[in-house]
C-alpha cells in the first residue's frame, strides 16, 4: 500500500526546470524556423505577385505602343534621350498628332493627342526610343524624322524591389502624308515651261521636302526639288494641309505688274517721286541685280507706282525689300495701297526701317480688278543713313498665295510630262512617297484643264480617283 502511494506520488510530480527549459527551447526553435519559413514565403509571394502585375502592365503597354505606332502614318518627332524624358510624336491613323511620353514627375507613361495626354500606366522608370535608318543603322544626334525607318522602344518598369525592361521595335510607316494631287501635263499651246505638278500634305504636321526628288518616266533621271526662284522664300516645307507647286525653274508662275521694280532699267518714269529726284537708282549693295533705289533726302519723301490688278486670279502678292545704312529710331517707312485719289485703302507695312535687307509682303488679292497705287512714304532723320528700296513686286498668279513653290533644275517638269501616259513619282531618299501613272483618258488632256485627284486620301493609281480640273487647274489650292 505504501509502495503504491509512493508510485503515485512519483507519477504526479511536475517537470524539472531542465526539462522545461529544454521543451520551451525546442518549441522556440521550431516556431522560429517556421516563422522564418512563413515570412520568407510571404515575402516571395508578394514579390512574385508584384512582379507579375508589373510584367502584365509592361506587356499591355508595350503591345499598345507597338500597335499604335505600327498604324501611325508618320513619326514627326522623337526624343531619344536616355533619361526619363523619352517621347515620340506621330500622326495617327486618324490624322491626329499624338504622343507617347514619360512623365518623369509621376512615373506615368502618357498617351493621347499632344497637349491632352492621359496616363496609360504608372511605375515606369525609364522610356528610351532609338531611331533606325533605312539600312537598319542607329540614328544619333539630331534626327531628321524623314530618315526614320523604324523605332526601337525600351520601357523599364520598377516598383522599388522589382525592375525589368521590355524591348520592342516598330517599323514606321514610310507612307508620309504627301500625295501627288494635281498634274498639268498637257496645257493648251506649247508645253515648254508650262507644265507643273502639285503635291499636297494630307497630314497634321508640316513636311520638309528638302532633299526630295521627283522623276517622270524614268527613275534614273530624278531631279532634286529646290526652292523656287520666283516668290521663293527659301522654304521647302509644306505646312499641314498645304500645297507645293513644282515647276521647271524656267517656268514663270506669275505675271509682274510693277515696272522696273528691281531698278535695273534707267527708265524711272513709272515711279512718281516727291520731292522730284529724291529717289534715284544707284549701284552698290543692291538686294538683287546691280541697282537699287536710294534716297538721302532728310524729312518726308514719297514714291509710288500706279498699277491695275486684273481680276480672275487667285493670287496677287506685293513684295518689297528695304534697308537703311545707319539706323535711327526716327527713320520710318510706310507702304500703303491707295486709290487714284491717294486715299489709303490698306497698309502693307508701317514701322522703322531695317539695318539689313528685309522683306515685307502683303496679299493684294482683295484688290483684283482695281487700279491702285503702291505707295511708299518715308521719313528720314537727319542723323540717319541713306534709305534703300529694291525688288518691289506686285505679281498675280493662278497659284495659291500660300503654296510653297518648288522647282527642278531640268525640264523633267516643264515639258517632260508625256501627253498620252507617263509616270510621276515623288521620292525621299530611296523611298517613293507617291507615284502616279496617268493616262490622257483620265482627263486634263490639252484643253487647258489639269488632271486633278478627287480624294487626296484615295488611291494614287486608277482612273476612279482622277478627273479633269478647271481651266488652268488649281495649283496651290484645293481641287
Amino acid at each position: 500500500m505504501q509502495k503504491e502511494t509512493k508510485k503515485q506520488v512519483n507519477r504526479l510530480r511536475g517537470f524539472t526546470l531542465v526539462e522545461l527549459i529544454l521543451v520551451v527551447g525546442t518549441i522556440a526553435l521550431v516556431a522560429g524556423a517556421l516563422v522564418g519559413l512563413i515570412s520568407n514565403s510571404y515575402r516571395d509571394w508578394t514579390l512574385g505577385s508584384n512582379r507579375s502585375t508589373l510584367l502584365q502592365d509592361g506587356q499591355a503597354v508595350m503591345e499598345q505602343m507597338v500597335r499604335i505606332l505600327r498604324q501611325a502614318k508618320a513619326v514627326s518627332a522623337v526624343s531619344q534621350s536616355t533619361d526619363q524624358a523619352g517621347s515620340i510624336t506621330f500622326t495617327s491613323v486618324d490624322n491626329i498628332t499624338e504622343q507617347f511620353k514619360l512623365n518623369a514627375q509621376t512615373g506615368e507613361l502618357e498617351y493621347g493627342p499632344t497637349g491632352s495626354l492621359s496616363a496609360l500606366t504608372g511605375s515606369v522608370n525609364n522610356l528610351v526610343f532609338t531611331c533606325y535608318d533605312i539600312n537598319g543603322n542607329v540614328l544619333t544626334g539630331s534626327v531628321s524624322t524623314i530618315n526614320i525607318q523604324s523605332v526601337g522602344i525600351e520601357i523599364t518598369l520598377a516598383d522599388g524591389t522589382n525592375s525589368f525592361t521590355l524591348p520592342g521595335r516598330v517599323l514606321c510607316s514610310t507612307d508620309l502624308p504627301v500625295v501627288i494631287n494635281e498634274i498639268m501635263y498637257n496645257p493648251t499651246g506649247t508645253d515648254t515651261t508650262r507644265e507643273w505638278v502639285e503635291v499636297y500634305n494630307t497630314g497634321a504636321t508640316a513636311v520638309d521636302l528638302a532633299g526630295w526628288t521627283i522623276w517622270t518616266g524614268n527613275p534614273s533621271y530624278a531631279d532634286a526639288l529646290i526652292s523656287h526662284l520666283q516668290f521663293g522664300d527659301g522654304s521647302t516645307t509644306i505646312p499641314a494641309g498645304g500645297y507645293a507647286v513644282i515647276t521647271a525653274n524656267t517656268t514663270t508662275v506669275y505675271t509682274e505688274l510693277i515696272t522696273n521694280g528691281g531698278f535695273e532699267s534707267a527708265s524711272l518714269t513709272a515711279w512718281v517721286r516727291s520731292p522730284t529726284g529724291s529717289w534715284s537708282r544707284t549701284t552698290g549693295d543692291p538686294h538683287g541685280g546691280t541697282r537699287k533705289f536710294q534716297s538721302t533726302v532728310s524729312g518726308a519723301t514719297s514714291v509710288y507706282q500706279q498699277i491695275t490688278i486684273p481680276s480672275g486670279y487667285t493670287s496677287v502678292l506685293f513684295i518689297f525689300w528695304e534697308k537703311t545704312t545707319a539706323l535711327v529710331a526716327q527713320t520710318q517707312i510706310t507702304a500703303t495701297i491707295r486709290n487714284t485719289s491717294n486715299v489709303i485703302l490698306a497698309t502693307g507695312y508701317s514701322g522703322q526701317m531695317s539695318s539689313a535687307w528685309t522683306c515685307h509682303t502683303m496679299n493684294l488679292t482683295a484688290f483684283a480688278g482695281q487700279t491702285v497705287r503702291i505707295y511708299f512714304s518715308t521719313n528720314k532723320s537727319t542723323t540717319g543713313g541713306a534709305l534703300y528700296l529694291d525688288d518691289i513686286s506686285v505679281a498675280y498668279s493662278y497659284v495659291g498665295i500660300d503654296a510653297v513653290r518648288l522647282s527642278v533644275p531640268n525640264t523633267t517638269i516643264g515639258n517632260g510630262l508625256a501627253n498620252t501616259t507617263d509616270t510621276v513619282a515623288v521620292v525621299n531618299g530611296s523611298i517613293t512617297i507617291d507615284s502616279v501613272t496617268y493616262s490622257s483618258s483620265w482627263g486634263g488632256d490639252g484643253d487647258g484643264t489639269s488632271l486633278a485627284r478627287i480624294n487626296p486620301l484615295g488611291p494614287s493609281n486608277g482612273q476612279s480617283n482622277w478627273t479633269s480640273g478647271p481651266q488652268n487647274g488649281t495649283p496651290g489650292r484645293v481641287n
Binding site: S41, R51, Y132, I134, N135, G152, R169, S430
Partner: protein
Amino acid sequence: MNRNHKTYTEKRRKGFVLVLTLFAALILAALIIAFTNITSINLTLVKNYMYSSKAYYIAEAGVADAINQICQNGPLSDTQWENTFPPNTSDTYNVSVSQNSTVINSTGLASVSNFSRTLEVKVSITGSSSPYQVNISQWKEITQ
C-alpha cells in the same frame, strides 16, 4: 484488477496524445514547406515568363529588321545575320532569310537567362522597286 485496467488506459491515452501532437506538427511543417515551395516556384515562373517575354519581343525586333531589309532591297538571297537588340546590351536576335526571302526565322535571346524564342514568318513580296511591299501570310512561334 480495476486499478490495473485504469493504469493501462492512462498509459494508452498518454501515448495517443503524443502521436497526435507529433502528427499534427508534421502536417503543419509539411504544409509550411509546401507553401514555401509553391511561392519559390511561383517566383521562378514569373521570372522565367519575364525573360521569355523579353526573348519574344527581341525575336519580333529581328522580324522587323528583316522586313525592313526586304522592303528596301527586295528579295534577298539566303542570308543570316545577328544584331544586338536593344543596342548596347548583350541581348541579341539572329535572323535568317530563306526561300527567296519568303521565310524569315528570327530567334530572340535574352542573355541574362539564356532564354530564347523563335518566330517563323512567311511573307510575299510585291513591287518592282523600293519600297517593295511585304505582306505577312503566316506568323508563328516554333521550337528549335
